[in-house]
């Protein structure tokens, strides 16, 4: 079967972000960019399913601006077979991304879509669920274990208070949690080979999707900063502060 993996280019999770002075967003010039960590886990899972003989082809997709192709090449170097870049000129909202992926799933007759549970920039946690809704197919979000069983996929999910296991009929949509796997690194020969793998560039119009903006980001601001704390010298001093000054114990 064919699997579609959606990936997103984001600011490196270990980089300290800087806000633009005019309140319009976060500075991304001269900032290290990377594949969103949850998407990387989705790519790794697709590769493992292919290695186990369940998947015949991995199509990696990114909806974004021109520079997203860098992350698509990385995914190809990791083991994806081909890439599709849906080029947009502004940050698309989750519902738009879901509509584009829905159209692609049909076009590619994909049986499985793997996505990260959330991107670490916008922290929305929406696209996989929206894609499942539009496809009218089952979903398993926050997956920590994925097993293909014939025409079904069995997924263990990380939920409030523990774990839950669901069985979904394929085609299905899965979003990955951190503990699903440990993504591999791309080797140099594979990075070289990835340059020759196909990467198609298409537009939302090609997929018959209108890019709409239903939400206005009015302003991006810094969160309130905490007042400077103090180092205490002893446990007794700490207890005194918590009891008498803060009155929290």
């Amino acid at each position: 079967m064919r699997v579609i993996v959606a990936i997103k280019r984001v600011v490196d999770p270990y980089a300290k972000i800087r806000l633009k002075g005019d309140g319009t967003g976060v500075e991304t010039n001269n900032v290290k960019m990377t594949i969103n960590p949850f998407c990387e886990i989705a790519v790794e899972e697709a590769i493992r399913l292919k290695e186990a003989g369940h998947v015949s082809e991995i199509v990696v997709v990114s909806v974004g601006m021109n520079d997203s192709q860098e992350q698509l090449r990385t995914a190809l170097a990791l083991g994806a077979d081909r890439a599709i870049h849906v080029e947009v000129d502004c940050a698309p909202e989750p519902l738009t991304v879901a509509k584009l992926l829905h159209s692609l799933m049909i076009k590619e007759s994909a049986q499985l879509a793997l996505l990260g549970k959330q991107s670490i920039d916008t922290d929305n946690n929406q696209v996989a669920q929206m894609l499942a809704a539009l496809s009218q197919r089952p979903q398993a979000t926050f997956a920590s274990k994925v097993t293909i069983e014939g025409e079904c996929v069995v997924v263990t999910r990380e939920v409030e208070g523990g774990l839950e296991t669901l069985k979904l009929q394929l085609p299905a949509i899965i979003s990955t949690d951190l503990r699903l796997n440990e993504p591999r690194y791309a080797s140099l020969p594979n990075i070289m080979k990835a340059k020759k793998k196909p990467l198609d560039v298409i537009t939302p119009q090609d997929l018959g999707v209108e890019v709409s903006q239903r939400q206005h980001v009015l302003e991006i601001v810094s969160p309130p900063t905490r007042k400077a704390g103090v180092l205490v010298a002893s446990v007794a001093e700490l207890i005194d502060k918590l009891k008498n000054e803060e009155k929290v114990i």
């Binding site: 669920q129 809704a133 398993a140 939400q215 700490l238 502060k241």
Partner: protein
């Protein structure tokens, strides 16, 4: 005159128990109501979808601000699977023909799972993890692991949002508001997904998101046995136990205790971080706590930059003394 807005809150519950997160989501609904001009202009309706959930309905009738409880009670909804729960909410919204102006659910794994699916079925966007309500169509929400806040306005006719529990106070549950209960006979089956099993951790301790005190441990504990120090301190303080991703990955505790960007978001009165360095992803889950205490042997650990009180030293010396003296 008809009210202008109806705010629909999706209740999270375990059929025989209403979750605390529903009560904080109701608090966010009341803020929208205030911005709309009060109860004359906006009513709050709560939808309970479950199986044999009369206890939950009764609890909601005692919750402050609830004007109406809608109930869908059928064995089909025993496991709260997204496939039929989302379809049910969407169907009710469509049947009510545009009556609802806002659709809210807690930003828990339940709300995060079902609400975006519902939004897409209704062809509207969603505002995730709302931390404050600024008007009937504008909210604040954290982005970049809480390192920035976005003020976002929704242009959709139905505003769908998940609500971050730690940012709102729970509404009171001791009101006898005698609101009407409307039973809906919907029973959509799951066509493509089925529940197989679950493993829920059983704990006597308070739940993480609603605990007044949280004691969290990190990699610095070294091993699972030493994590017992964190548990002992939590028990002495009547608090909940949390953990950093490193502690979860090392197998000290189960995943559902992880505090951070992708785990639980907490804002207790007192947060004690033991052997936690303070990675951005961890801070995202606890930096709105009222008082933060850090215990770490590394004086340069990032956690000290946000801690109100810090002790630099060996946690194996400090923790037993702390446990003995609280």
């Amino acid at each position: 005159m008809a009210t202008q807005y109806t705010i629909l809150v999706i209740a999270e519950h375990e059929h025989d128990r209403l979750s605390a997160d529903t009560l904080t989501t109701l608090s966010a609904a009341r803020e929208i109501q205030q911005h709309a001009g009060g109860r004359q202009e906006a009513v709050i309706s709560v939808l309970v979808i479950g199986s044999q959930c009369q206890v939950v309905v009764d609890a909601l009738r005692r919750a402050e601000g609830v004007d109406e409880v809608m109930v869908v009670d059928s064995p089909e909804y025993r496991h709260h699977l997204s496939e039929n729960v989302s379809a049910t909410i969407a169907q009710i919204c469509q049947q009510e023909n545009g009556r609802f102006s806002h659709l809210l659910a807690p930003a828990t794994t339940f709300g995060k799972d079902i609400l975006p699916r519902t939004a897409a079925l209704l062809d509207v966007g969603q505002l995730s993890d709302v931390i404050s309500v600024e008007s009937t169509d504008t909210v604040m929400r954290p982005i970049y692991a809480g390192n920035a806040l976005a003020r976002v306005q929704s242009l959709d006719s139905l505003k769908v949002m998940t609500v971050r529990s730690s940012a709102f106070n729970a509404v009171s549950t001791s009101i006898d508001n005698k609101c009407p209960v409307i039973n809906l006979s919907v029973a959509l089956p799951c066509r493509y997904s089925e529940f197989v099993s679950e493993h829920k951790a059983v704990s006597e301790r308070p739940e993480l998101p609603s605990a007044r005190v949280v004691v969290s441990g990190g990699r610095g504990l070294g091993d699972k046995a030493s994590f017992g120090l964190v548990e002992q301190l939590a028990d002495k303080l009547g608090g909940a136990v949390g953990a950093s991703r490193a502690a979860v990955d090392a197998g000290f505790v189960s995943n559902d205790l992880q505090v951070g960007q992708t785990g639980k978001i907490v804002a207790p009165e007192l947060y004690i971080a033991v052997g936690i360095s303070g990675a951005i992803q961890h801070l995202a889950g606890m930096k709105d706590s009222k008082v933060i205490v850090a215990i770490n042997s590394d004086p340069d650990a990032a956690i000290f930059q946000i801690a109100d009180y810090g002790i630099v030293g060996d946690l194996f010396d400090i923790m037993p003394e702390l446990i003995a003296s609280v």
